[in-house]
Symmetry: C2
């Protein structure tokens, strides 16, 4: 049998309903006042007048709770420059959940807030997203048809590998632009289309996009299914990852605290709970995972079947191998930070023969760490089909494996100057240090440093304008 509510409890409930008629709460004992405040919040009855009433009591515990929940009087909000629909919705979502007042710029300024806001892609306009596909194979019909229900509402930028001579086979019903070698030559001119051969062709799409978000998936990947057999909307998940804050300065053991059903755990400092802007979302792979050629050659039967239902912010200063297979990023935040710079001498058209994304990813993580941006890893998965023979690649390409032994100590020690305040500055600074320190080790690094400087020039000329460069 349920215990009947106490007289006190009923009185407090009654007080919540009639708060607007009460002019002074200061005579209430502390514990009743706190209870009244919590019930007011839960009942969605906190408005500006009621808040003033509680503040006027001057009671420590209530003031602390107000501060911890980042409840504020409405001010005319000074919107930050990157305030957008996502934040506006987050504001509303937050208000709906907590019925309290706050200024959105405080949320962005790392002030104290309980993360009740939940975001999903529906709040982002489809027109804010470009899906960039590098076409390494001519027949894209099965690829695009399998992705149709997920990507057809977005604009697609398809960049044909300049080395691929055949004409692309693209099914009807997509909003897309296709760029071929002649388009690349016409637009980048003297930079030459060799910059964009093989997997690097996608970077041409990154260069000419004018959208806030870019999502890019290799053309040998297909929509995956989760543990329940449901098809995964990788685009929606990437956008959720990018539009909810990241938490690089303290690890949350229950993974993404902004997901439905999760939160920050005990001990997580309140001042870090608002997080920072998510700049990159690195998705994963079921079936054929992104292993290197030696691993896959030695374990030829190895397939990834473990669906880990998590998104993690990779902590600041933790190094990681960012794969370009299934990736999304905030183009406005990342600027020219994703680039094709490190070319292996025997680079091929299979992922395990390339390092351009790993190198660019190491730079991107260093830039994000320096600028206080977040990088997430985990969901969404894509289903990666077989392509190529690891043993054949192993015969051909070993350089990448060896280079990482030099790359990692470099990035463990690299520090960017405080004067580097934009992604563009950071890339130029990294290029300079790479040339000085790694250039002595292997000429591939000098060439990478030069390509990074070239890339920033190209990006300034073509990529950074506000109107399409095409």
């Amino acid at each position: 049998m349920r215990t009947p509510p106490s007289l006190l409890s009923l009185t407090i409930d009654k007080a919540v309903i009639h708060l607007s008629h009460i002019s002074d709460l200061s005579h209430l004992p502390d514990h009743i006042l706190l209870d009244l405040f919590l019930r007011t919040l839960k009942a969605g009855k906190l408005n500006e007048k009621v808040l003033k009433l509680f503040v006027a009591t001057g009671k420590d515990e209530v003031l602390l709770l107000i501060r911890a929940l980042n409840i504020k009087h409405i001010l005319t909000p000074v919107l930050p420059t990157n305030f957008n629909l996502a934040w506006a919705i987050r504001l509303r979502t937050f208000e709906r959940n907590t019925c309290c007042f706050w200024t959105p710029n405080k949320l962005l300024d790392l002030d104290i807030v309980l993360p009740i806001c939940k975001m999903s892609q529906e709040y982002i306009k489809n027109s804010e997203v470009d899906i960039v596909i590098g076409a390494l194979q001519a027949d894209l019909s099965s690829f695009l048809n399998e992705w149709r229900s997920i990507i057809s509402r977005f604009h697609l930028i398809i960049v044909q590998d300049p080395d691929l001579k055949e004409e692309l086979n693209i099914p009807e019903g997509f909003d897309l632009n296709v760029y071929t070698k002649s388009d690349i030559d016409r637009i980048v001119g003297s930079f030459g289309s060799t910059f964009f051969s093989g997997y690097s062709c996608r970077y041409f799409g990154y260069l000419i996009s004018r959208k806030k978000y870019i999502i890019s998936i290799d053309d040998d990947c297909f929509p995956a299914k989760d543990n329940m057999g449901n098809s995964i909307d990788a685009v929606a998940q990437h956008i959720t990852n990018l539009t909810t804050p990241a938490t690089p300065f303290f690890f949350n053991t229950l993974y993404d605290p902004f997901r439905e059903g999760a939160d920050f755990v005990r001990g997580y400092p309140f001042s870090l709970r608002s997080g920072v802007t998510s700049a990159m979302s690195c998705g994963l792979w079921l079936n054929l995972a992104d292993y290197d050629a030696p691993t896959q050659a030695l374990k030829s039967q190895l397939r990834n079947s473990r669906y880990v239902d998590a998104v993690i912010t990779v902590p600041a200063r933790a190094l990681m191998p960012i794969s370009g297979i299934n990736i999304a990023f905030d183009r406005e935040a990342m600027g020219p930070t994703l680039f094709p710079a490190l070319k292996l001498s025997r680079e091929g058209n299979f992922r395990w023969e390339t390092m351009e994304d790993i190198w660019s990813g190491m730079c991107a993580k260093a830039v994000c760490d320096h600028l206080g941006l977040g990088v997430k890893s985990g969901l969404p998965y894509v289903w990666r089909k077989e392509r190529g023979s690891a043993i054949d690649s192993l015969r051909k390409e070993w350089e990448g494996v060896k280079l990482m032994e030099e790359v990692v100590p470099f990035f463990q020690s690299v520090r960017l100057p405080q004067t580097a305040t934009t992604a563009e500055d950071c890339v130029v600074e990294i290029a300079k240090t790479v040339k000085e320190q790694l250039g002595r080790v292997d000429p591939v690094f000098s060439r990478a440093a030069e390509a990074m400087v070239e890339w920033v020039k190209l990006w300034k000329k073509i990529g950074s304008g506000s109107s399409p460069g095409i």
Copy 2:
């Protein structure tokens, strides 16, 4: 229809079988030699003589592969001091998988090795583990009965909260020692049993254990089920976590590379693939998660139902909130690093009223980072039942939430001197710095620093000996 094997392929297969009769391989073209080598490995035909045959060819690619796989001639192994059964088995497992030779001390020295070794608890003797339970409630019958099938083969140390006056109710059929207030007083003498009140009573168990591994689970937790409805053996998972290497210096996007079905991803440096000793395994919670009182009070319906099938090494220098609810550690590696030092003035008997584990965990992570040990988080989950009222606790305890705002910047900047080479040294150094820097902020930190120094003394006197201190 399957393509029939080529004549070359058949020839290579034949050569694998007859390798022991071949005296020279140097005339073979590079690609055939490499193929032959890979097939020899896969067929388990690599022995010392055959290895010599391949090395004698002097071919770059084969030599590189031999190096990358850490294949070595058998030397009389110089065993490191912490070489134990786990490593011996890992050696055998590795050999079984790769049929090659290596010295175990090289694996510990971060030399190059492909992580083919898989470990599980069956290789650890049950006698190497103590399960430490702090009894905050007198009736342990349902707790122990629910855990019976998982923990009954291990030795249990049950420490009764000195503030708990009733006699414990413990069912039959366990190998255990119970310690009460009078035992604590007798053993720690002048240190006094107040050190060990409430949740801190478990630390008495950490002090007197002589086992290599300690596993500790709060007495309001029960075995959980995975997504398939199978009961989780939390002890087995903790031991697996502790006996497989950790990878704190580079983040592996496919989580624990040592798990069955997983590996290191492309771009992961080979020199870091052997990992480091795992010193701590921090498990998670289904149902009532380890949230703080404000979060749980505001989201009274919030329960954790997401089972994330992953174990992660928390990267070096990433700060984290280590919870003491469901934890395991290598006692030999951690020494006196887990201690009850930070006592809140209004600390209570509910987890959200305590900070002792969070504080000790911050210190432990700093020590592990300094000593090059790994901390893992994720599996296993336990099912945490309801206890206490978050709103009642919220009325009582706010100090912990406020302290974290001071604790985090401190640990972000703390650096231990190179002269601190043991866990013991590190704790003393941290205590010194806490006193100097945080002591000025709040006397609770000075008291914590003093308790840490006291704890190390106690640990030296009672805990660090090789025979039980009881």
